[in-house]
Symmetry: C2
């Protein structure tokens, strides 16, 4: 089955040498004016000017982009999209001034999500999460990472990762599962942290690796969650089991997580609000991607966001993701994160756009699969309502994605 | 033609004594569990529990809310939705660190919109603006104010207001026009401010009033725009011509605009980031509505937002609006403003919801027409994808409005 997208007024390919981009200018977007994309059996086979489309393509339905903007399908490289139930009550408490400690004391926080996940039947969790993935897709996301982490036990973590796998047959979005058993110390392990870390390293990781349930292992390295030493043990164990690594680092305070990530060679270090210049330079030298999650800063009403401009200045490749989660960022709108990364993170529009395409692909080790429009890559693209790529950031909070093609098939609307 | 909405799991009526609400708690939302709304010839004739729906309604098609949330249609009481062209280039300059002065020096700012408006044919302006109104409608807005202000000349201001009137036949949204001739000093009047103020007071206002082109007169009272004394002359002239008053006040600095508004008895004073407690108390005592525009704070990457919690504490009724405009807030998503007003403005969810319904109606002197679900009011309501009103703020940046009914007719999707 072939599909040809014709008459892309502005075709942003993000084509290049398939390496992560540190910084980006308009010319790094690989823009083709009046472009076209030919897809065969779900893959891109040709990209160029519309006037040069190869003749004699067999049985190729055409999608007319009507001179509008076309970009690669967006890649959301950090989400906690698999969850059950609502934490709207916490949101209400928070905006009225309650602290996280007060919310925790009333049974809120990650353990509330763990409780709701444990109590929900598989079918409910799948239906709720599929709804979120469809919403992401309509905003332009064609690849997304989903972390476990609301399990807080071996049984529920394994169940979560299996459910994440099952989502693949429900929504035409490419799903990348990440194991985040070390998301929080469960209440029942509060007085035996060591016992829980051993459960993660001795039970969960071996089983997740054996059943190939996740490509990545992530850990929430932060005061109040896992220490640098605990995080090191968990990530080293995961690496020994053949998993790639990620880390939630220096979100709430400068606590050494970014440095640990650099030392261990993580694929990405995420959040980074409080990382120092030296931390970020170490991360750059390690070859990792820095992931900004500005929606979470908004959801927590922060005035400090991750230092995107500094990252770009020192040559650290930046990705931008939604952090979609039920606690502090219930938002499937990845283009809104582009706006926030520009306004509050200091990224240029081009850097932010690279941050949700090719750099985000690299943050999932999928730089040779998605994130740009080039022959050989997956047929994932978005036709937008506008004809200017700057509108993705400028015209914010709305649904500008018009037609979303995933794997060479029109997936939305 | 009658319509009945059945099985509203949570029916937020905002019913009450039709006066502006200072502060709001959950019980002020007038919630009916498993509710229903009966509309006849575009008006609400009955609201109550679904089990009590009057029998024998003639020819009434039913809309099944399927146990979801139903609220009044939202009211966006401050927009500059009528404009031509894009200022995405300014956005790009701004996020890369350019100052407003630098942007102005390159021909940007309000005068860029004035130039694009002047050069655009009526049909283009109407088509672009109608697209924005449809987008607003799909996010739940059924009434919106639209200001002129990109005319900067009598001819173009009058043209703008006539175009705003014409939008009424294109989109099923109730449009309230506001005359904002005093939006900026046009470049050609830079050395004769007095001459421009006289054009506003001696030419524009008399013609606008004579032709009944706008209910409200607004003025941008701020350093760099119009002084308190200029604003006073303009607003007093408008009042003498029978117009109701609004004021853009104390957005960028504390400059006396809020006090002026209180003194003149404006219907609403808008922005108010820098208004002092004393200013806000004066506004409260005058009976005006305070309008928060948090999207503009976001669009300008501010860390300071209007002091919503203080307003609520001192008993000043607060409305929340989008400020949709091409310069610093290109966003039709009014529910996103609810989220921002909670997170950064300190409003409770209930206060913010009242702020985009009944209080916003009062900010347009439409408190007896729209903003709540009560017999006699216009048949404007929204059926949401969720069943919890808190989700409007909590689940942000997305399109949660599912079915929008305007004037008793299903208008979207």
């Amino acid at each position: 089955m072939n599909v040809v997208v014709r008459h892309a007024g502005v075709l942003v390919t993000c084509a290049g040498d398939w390496r992560p981009r540190a910084g980006a200018a308009a010319h790094d977007l690989g823009i083709v004016t009046d472009g076209a994309v030919v897809m065969e059996r779900g893959r891109i086979v040709w990209v160029g000017r519309d006037t040069d489309v190869p003749a004699g393509l067999p049985d190729s339905p055409e999608v007319d982009a009507a001179r509008r903007l076309v970009t690669p399908g967006l890649v959301d490289c950090h989400t906690h999209a698999l969850f059950a139930g609502s934490r709207a009550g916490e949101f209400a408490m928070r905006v009225c001034g309650s602290t996280y400690e007060e919310i925790m004391a009333q049974g809120g926080g990650i353990s509330a999500s763990a409780r709701m996940l444990r109590e929900a039947p598989d079918a409910d969790i799948l239906e709720q999460t599929a709804g979120r993935l469809w919403r992401m897709l309509r905003f332009g996301t064609t690849t997304c990472e989903i972390k476990s982490g609301y399990g807080l036990s071996t049984e529920q973590e394994v169940r979560s990762l299996r459910l994440i796998q099952q989502l693949r047959s429900r929504v035409p979005i490419r799903v990348v599962p990440t194991f985040l058993g070390a998301h929080a110390i469960p209440p029942e392990w509060r007085y035996d942290r060591e016992g829980f870390v051993r459960q993660v390293t001795e039970e969960m990781i071996p089983q997740v690796a054996r059943e190939e349930l996740a490509r990545f292992c992530d850990v929430f390295c932060e005061h109040g969650a896992f220490s640098v030493e605990e995080s090191r043990r968990i990530l080293e164990t995961a690496r020994a089991h053949g998993m790639d690594l990620k880390i939630h680092a220096d979100e709430l305070a400068s606590s050494g997580g970014t440095r640990l990530g650099a030392e261990l060679g993580v694929c990405s270090a995420d959040h980074l609000l409080c990382a120092t210049r030296g931390d970020l330079e170490a991360l750059r030298d390690s070859g990792a991607i820095a992931v900004m999650l500005p929606g979470t800063c908004l959801g927590l009403a922060k005035t400090r966001y991750a230092p995107g401009r500094l990252m770009a200045e020192i040559g650290l490749p930046v990705a931008v993701a939604s952090d979609l989660n039920p606690g502090n960022c219930y938002c499937e709108n990845l283009p809104l994160m582009v706006t926030l990364a520009c306004l509050y993170g200091g990224l240029s529009l081009e850097q932010a756009l690279v941050g949700v395409t090719i750099n985000a692909a690299h943050a999932l080790r999928l730089g040779d699969e998605v994130g740009s429009l080039e022959p050989g890559k997956r047929g994932d693209l978005v036709i937008w309502e506008c004809d200017d790529y700057r509108d993705i950031a400028y015209h914010f909070g709305v649904q500008l994605a018009s037609i979303v093609i995933a794997g060479g098939v029109v997936a939305a609307p």
